[in-house]
């Protein structure tokens, strides 16, 4: 009986679908891009695995140039890059068939109607007309565009244009989509909606996302991997979880009342603390875990509504990385 069970287990194991070893979607080696005498990218060497990737950096850091070099929109000065396992430069057309891109600026064709534009973009990627038209409507539904799709793009608001850009970037069902500042010019509600859409691309549909932004909140909300670029160099490349772990020792405590008691207790413990304008109390407890904080709360018999560990980890890491890079210069 035992023999048969082992045999069955072996058969089951061999019949399981093989899980592919994770292959980097982006690989660069000493990637350099110069504009005249200025280095926009300086010896960037990276290996990025599938996921939702946040590309962070101040304005002019080289984020957009990095994306454009990968998409072959800008020629690489030196070094090499591979995207989805293919060599950028020699296989550009094949790569772009599997890649979507939303540029930062408006890029629509004047005089075109929304759905016609997305259909046209799908056909540029090689989709047959009927399929292109059907997918264009599906993607416009996906990004939440209604009857306005039948209007000329010139009449669209900024929010509609951002949605349209997203629709044209995913209409051909890419494996990876590059989004350059997708929430620029949007009101808070529009920002939330676009970010939810972007988040769903990776989490629900398995499309890798590379989100370039200088808005830390956007990246914090949807990305799992973070790349911080400044002055054309990659300063940090790690998972968001690891980055937050590096910044342990701080927390934000949300309480309904008794903020004064809480502040007093923290001060007694010689922890730096402050009351934030939103009523939360920020504290630096300097410990790897939240246990000392929880113990203190128990002592003063205060039940918090929420404890947010490392609330500004990304921001702090970002500023720290920038300061380090400035010091190096």
């Amino acid at each position: 009986m035992v023999g048969f069970a082992l045999q069955d287990a072996f058969i089951e194991l061999t019949m399981l679908p093989r899980m592919p070893a994770p292959i980097p979607i982006i690989e660069t080696t000493n990637l350099t891009k110069r504009y005249g005498g200025q280095r926009a990218l300086n010896d960037v060497t990276l290996s990025v695995f599938p996921g939702a990737i946040g590309l962070l950096g101040p304005n002019g850091a080289g984020k957009s140039t990095f994306m454009k070099c990968l998409l072959q929109l800008q020629p690489i000065t030196s070094g090499s890059a591979r995207l989805l396992g293919r060599e950028v430069g020699s296989e550009g057309r094949e790569i772009r068939k599997r890649v979507g891109y939303t540029p930062e600026q408006d890029c629509h064709i004047p005089g075109m109607v929304g759905c016609e534009y997305v259909t046209y973009c799908a056909r540029l990627c090689g989709l047959p007309f009927q399929v292109a038209r059907q997918r264009a409507h599906e993607m416009l539904d996906f990004v939440g565009m209604g009857q306005e799709r039948y209007r000329k793009i010139d009449t669209y608001s900024t929010g509609m244009k951002q949605r349209l850009k997203l629709a044209q970037a995913i209409v051909h069902d890419p494996e990876i989509v590059f989004l350059d500042e997708p929430t620029n010019g949007l009101d808070p509600k529009g920002q939330v909606q676009i970010l939810e859409l972007v988040q769903s691309l990776w989490k629900q549909h398995g499309i890798c996302v590379v989100l370039s932004s200088h808005l830390l909140h956007d990246v914090d909300q949807i990305c799992e991997q973070i790349i911080i670029i400044a002055r054309g160099r990659v300063l940090v490349h790690d998972s968001l979880q690891n980055l937050k772990a590096r910044q342990r020792g701080a927390a934000e405590v949300v309480v309904g009342s008794r903020q004064g008691d809480l502040l007093e207790a923290f001060q007694r413990n010689q922890w730096k603390c402050e009351l934030l304008p939103n009523g939360h109390v920020k504290v630096e407890h300097n410990a790897d875990s939240l246990n000392p904080l929880l113990k203190l709360l128990q002592e003063i018999r205060l039940a918090p509504l929420e404890i947010i560990p490392s609330p500004n980890a990304l921001e702090e890491m970002f500023i720290q990385a920038l300061e380090t890079s400035e010091d190096a210069v």
Binding site: L73, P103, L127, L197
Partner: protein, 330 residues
Amino acid sequence: MKHDTTYKHWDGAHLGIWSRRAVIATNGLKSCLQVKWMRRVITLCWAAGMIQVAILFLLGQLLIADSIVVQWLGNLSPQLQAIGRALVGWLEQHPEISVRTTYNLLFFFFSSNLLTLTLIAIALAMPHLITSDLSSNAIIVYSSKAVGRFDYLLGKFGTLFCLMTLTWLGPVWVAWLFGNFLSTNWHFFWHSRAALGHTLLYVLGSMTILSVLALGVSAISTRAKATVSLWVALWLLGNAFVPIAIKTKPWLKFFSLSFNLQQFSLTVFKLKDDFQLATDNIPFFGEMLKGIRRQANSVMQTPEMGGAIWGLSIMLVVAVIIILRKVKPE
């Protein structure tokens, strides 16, 4: 949240690169045809083509003794009657020469006139070529899709080629086809083959040259008015420039686009040879053609193709340099 999260993946087969280039070409043509004046110019071109068909039909009718045309000629003055009879006699006795010469002359005349309308059509199409894509940043979208810069340019080239087929090649080719179908003798097809060959060579060659030049002009600026003005200047100022150049520095005339294309057409249609053939074989027309020769001096001149090739080559090189420098994602 107002969006449908049912995203569907697509794993069908992609169409080939030529299909994607054709998509760019047809889209460009579609946007050109949305211009009201463009549709009018195209209508005018086809009207000219129909006039050519009518003339060829009347020519064919001269071979039928009881046709309306012959009867009408009989009712004219004695002088015109004599010319008509001579023409009929010429057609009957020397169809290989008469049909060839007449068709060649007619197709030269119509091709040259349709060139003017084609240049107007290109001026109207100018903003819909590269100019608008540069000004609206749509060039970035093209570059981020599965088409390269060369594919994009080939698509735009296709747009112009299709447009010129509508304004130029189409009308003259249809005129040849219908003119021969309506003729009284199937031999017209055979005897007019040279005229068709000359027309195709001249029109297709000029279409290629004009397409590249128009793309170059279209890429110069992101402002539609600027590119249209430049195109019109290249065409009209070039025309006005020739008489001045001939009097001062003759080689400067080769910087005129129209002059160079005229030399190309004279070289291709070889009208001088046709007239010589007709003069040698038909004494009556020989006398008449001598008069034409004096009057139509420009038609009968020896074409200066060498200089025209240089002039056109320089223009094409400049256009290509402009295209390569300007047509970039950013």
